[in-house]
């Protein structure tokens, strides 16, 4: 039977971007090789999550080409990798901004005004949750519990918490990120404790 896909129905599922040729940088390849050794040889698929994390680190998001590369590295099929990518909300299949602002909207943060934080960020950046600003600097996302309820409301900027963020502090955070870049990611008490340790 001849296969003529154009003839048939297509799903409107949002597919990952095809992306250009993808391969790990030597540094990431080394990290992957070290990580995959943690698992028995017949359970290499356990390393898919870490492999995808590396791919996202390298590219900012996971393209179809990256999924194929991960599948090759693991020795499974791309469909199995896509399963994982589509299951976890922290993998992106479309380009995102340099700074991904994950605003927690679960109970503790919500009680302490997370909605107002989201609204303030929206107003400041001119985007709604789920969007990326035109300069490609910020992406605003609402997420479920980030596990920092004692310091609500929390915004996770890339991999760092920004705690006790009052809606009126939002403008300062955004300006900080714009001017100082990653150096501004010091809102997390872990950073502060580390800094305190270093000075004492």
């Amino acid at each position: 039977m001849d296969y003529a896909p154009a003839k048939f129905h297509k799903s409107a599922r949002e597919l990952a971007e095809p992306g250009g040729a993808f391969a790990y940088t030597p540094e990431h390849q080394a990290k992957f090789d070290a990580n995959v050794k943690c698992y028995p040889p017949d359970q290499r698929r356990s390393a898919i999550l870490f492999a995808l994390y590396l791919a996202q680190r390298q590219q900012g998001y996971v393209t179809a080409a990256a999924m194929r590369h991960v599948a090759e590295q693991i020795g499974c099929t791309p469909a199995e990798v896509e399963d994982v990518v589509s299951y976890y909300t922290m993998f992106f299949t479309k380009p995102v901004g340099t700074y991904v602002l994950n605003v927690c909207r679960t109970l503790s943060c919500a009680l302490r005004g997370a909605e107002r934080v989201t609204a303030a960020l929206s107003a400041e950046l001119g985007i709604t949750p789920g969007e990326t600003d035109p300069t490609g600097t910020f992406t605003l996302i609402e997420v479920e519990c980030l596990g920092a309820c004692d310091r609500a409301p929390v915004v996770m900027v890339n991999d760092d918490w920004h705690e006790c963020l009052a809606p009126e502090d939002v403008r300062r955070l955004v300006e900080d990120l714009r001017t100082r870049g990653p150096a501004a990611l010091t809102g997390c008490h872990l950073h502060k404790e580390k800094a305190a340790e270093a000075t004492s």
């Binding site: 296969y3 129905h9 799903s11 409107a12 990952a16 469909a79 399963d83 299951y87």
Partner: protein
């Protein structure tokens, strides 16, 4: 064999150790519903409808994933089990579209059947169903060259995912997204590309995965008859069921409506490949031979058998006589036979008697067997390997003494035949090819030899109007594998029977009877009245081989698919085939080797040392 004894619903049951409670229940005839369980693939425990109560266990257990133990007391009928099961059904149907009236699976759908039996009468679901249809979105999506996927109907049992991973060894299907948004999908919507893709329709317990070939063509109640037969499109010899659509004789379209696999643990398990499943349209296709034809100048004219036979006899006599005068030797017989390995053992047996009657004991030298081989693109670790040889009966020909070269994976050697024809030493070639077009491989040289006159006479007996047949002087309309009771010996050396599901079209005849009539017209004493006569003679001449009981083989008759759940549902068929062989309507039908001990069913590839 170590066994354990447990009690299910008060009934003591003894099963082999290692069986699950669900398997024990199925063996004992206790009705427990299930979706994600399939005997051919691994256990998943994701659908939850097979819950049972087991004494001393704190909660209800999924019977498909609980191993039987001695003294276990299982209940499938207690009120809490019934309630829990009904609750699971309510969830399964929460998003199911219930479009049974337009769904091809309707009537043979486990979801339908089990929901009626075990599910609640109605749903308490107040919210709208999750649907994939919408603005620019279709629930029905393309799922590869052979399949369609309806995502609304899917209940996420993951049988298809596990089939592709475990049997096909290429996990092309996965579940994307999470929770209520989960759907079955392939990577980047590229579809399933596999030689085993048709099996996904069989394993799917709902109407989510359907083959394009069968979609919208028929409904279960339109297929009242199913015939247990054997696939002949490669040397694997999968056991299959041919489905016949009921329709008036004058109605358009074919009767043969689909092929499905039939459980045989020694040959094909629960599966069959797409070649056997979808490549049956030629049987009732446009190019099918329906009447004998003779050449008159440039055209082939339909004729009657009684007109054709004397003319054919005279031409053959003339061909034999002319070269006898031209100092023919045993090495260069004037009439040569080119036979496809699609010919059944009966046909080869009659042909052997024919050539030996005409040319003495060296007669078989005049016969050349032909078949094609091709590499099938399959993943390395597949559990279902399709054979390279595209013909069913190479081993049968070998057992009868034909020269077919060593091993089943061999290739035919036509060089001697070709040089004999192209050097003009041959006065006539008789081709016997009951297979589909192309089963003889490349025949352009033979067509060329006939057209440039090197070969004076070409006779083609076959099922399809091939290029070769259109170059022939006589075309004899034979029958295809679903139109005759016939034996084929597969690559394991197992003698299996294909059975007559439909009659040959028009004036086409059984191939053995055409050969018998030819032999009789040439003065040979071939006195066979029916295929069973041929099998009896075959059995008598080959004692101490599996063929010795060829006449005892049960060549199956059509099965009335009265009870769809029991007999006609392809995804349930395995259960009735191997567990309830003594119950109607499958009585005797799957027992192809009745009366033959399992050991004798395997014959060595070489009969004599």
């Amino acid at each position: 064999m170590e066994t354990v004894t447990l009690t299910i619903d008060g009934q003591p049951i003894t099963v082999a150790k290692g069986r699950t409670v669900l398997q024990a229940a199925i063996e004992a005839g206790v009705s427990v519903p299930y979706y994600c369980y399939h005997p051919g693939i691994s256990i998943d425990g994701s659908c939850r409808v097979c819950v049972v109560k087991i004494e001393k266990m704190p909660k209800l257990q999924t019977s498909c994933s609980t191993l039987c133990a001695d003294g276990m007391v299982v209940s499938t009928r207690e009120p809490d089990v019934v309630d829990a099961r009904a609750g699971v059904f309510e969830f399964l149907l929460a998003n199911h579209p219930l479009d049974c009236p337009v769904c091809d699976k309707g009537g043979e759908c486990p979801l339908q059947d089990f929901s009626y039996t075990f599910g609640p009468a109605d749903s308490r679901m107040d919210f709208p169903r999750r649907v994939f249809d919408g603005e620019g979105v279709k629930a029905d999506v393309d799922f590869g060259p052979t399949l369609m996927l309806n995502r609304n109907r899917c209940i996420l049992c993951t049988r298809c995912v596990r089939f592709m991973k475990e049997i096909d060894d290429d996990a092309q299907i996965g579940i994307v997204d999470r929770g209520a948004g989960s759907e079955i999908a392939t990577f980047q919507e590229q579809g399933v590309h596999s030689l085993l893709s048709g099996n996904l329709m069989d394993v799917c317990p709902v109407g989510a995965i359907l083959t394009r070939d069968y979609r919208f063509k028929s409904r279960p109640w339109d297929n009242p008859t199913v015939v247990d037969t054997t696939c002949t499109l490669c040397s694997k010899g999968c056991n299959t069921s041919a489905w016949l659509k009921a329709k008036p004789e004058w109605a358009k379209g074919s009767r043969l409506i689909r092929m499905t696999p039939r459980y045989n643990p020694d040959v094909n398990g629960y599966w069959m490949c797409d070649i056997g499943r979808f490549n049956y349209h030629w049987v009732e296709g446009e190019s099918r031979l329906r009447r004998p034809m003779t050449r008159n100048g440039d055209v082939l004219e339909p004729t009657a058998w009684h007109d054709l036979q004397p003319r054919l006899r005279d031409r053959l006599r003339q061909a034999r006589g002319s070269s006898e005068s031209a100092a023919s030797s045993v090495q260069a017989p004037p009439v040569r036979f080119l036979v496809s390995a699609h010919a059944s053992t009966e046909e080869l047996f009659v042909l052997k008697q024919l050539v030996e009657g005409l040319m003495g004991s060296e007669g078989l030298n005049a016969v050349t067997l032909a078949w094609t081989t091709s590499d099938k693109a399959q993943p390395a670790g597949t559990k279902f390997k399709v054979s390279r040889t595209n013909a069913p009966n190479v081993n049968g020909a070998r057992d009868l003494g034909y020269q077919v070269g060593a091993g089943n994976e061999g290739t035919p050697d036509l060089s001697a035949l070709r040089s004999a024809i192209e050097s003009g030493q041959t006065a006539a070639v008789y081709v016997l090819d009951p297979g589909p077009d192309g089963s003889l491989g490349d025949t352009s040289w033979l067509i060329a030899a006939r057209q440039n006159g090197t070969l004076p006479l070409l006779i083609v007996q076959g099922a399809v109007m091939t290029d070769l047949a259109s170059a022939a002087d006589f075309v004899l309309a034979g029958s295809a594998f679903v139109e005759k009771d016939a034996l084929y010996t597969n690559d394991q050396g197992r003698v299996q029977a294909a059975s007559r599901a439909i009659a040959p079209p028009g004036e086409a005849r059984d191939d053995w009877s055409i050969l018998v009539a030819l032999g009789q017209s040439l003065g040979l004493a071939l006195a066979y009245e029916s295929a069973i006569d041929v099998r009896r003679a075959l059995a008598a001449t080959m004692p101490d081989t599996p063929y010795a009981s060829a006449d005892l083989l049960v060549v199956t008759r059509p099965v009335a698919a009265r009870n769809w759940l029991q007999a006609s549902n392809p995804s349930e068929r395995w259960k009735w085939d191997f567990l309830y062989q003594d119950l109607p309507p499958v009585k005797g039908h799957s027992v192809q080797m009745e009366g033959i001990s399992p050991r004798a069913a395997y014959i060595p590839l070489k009969l004599t040392e």
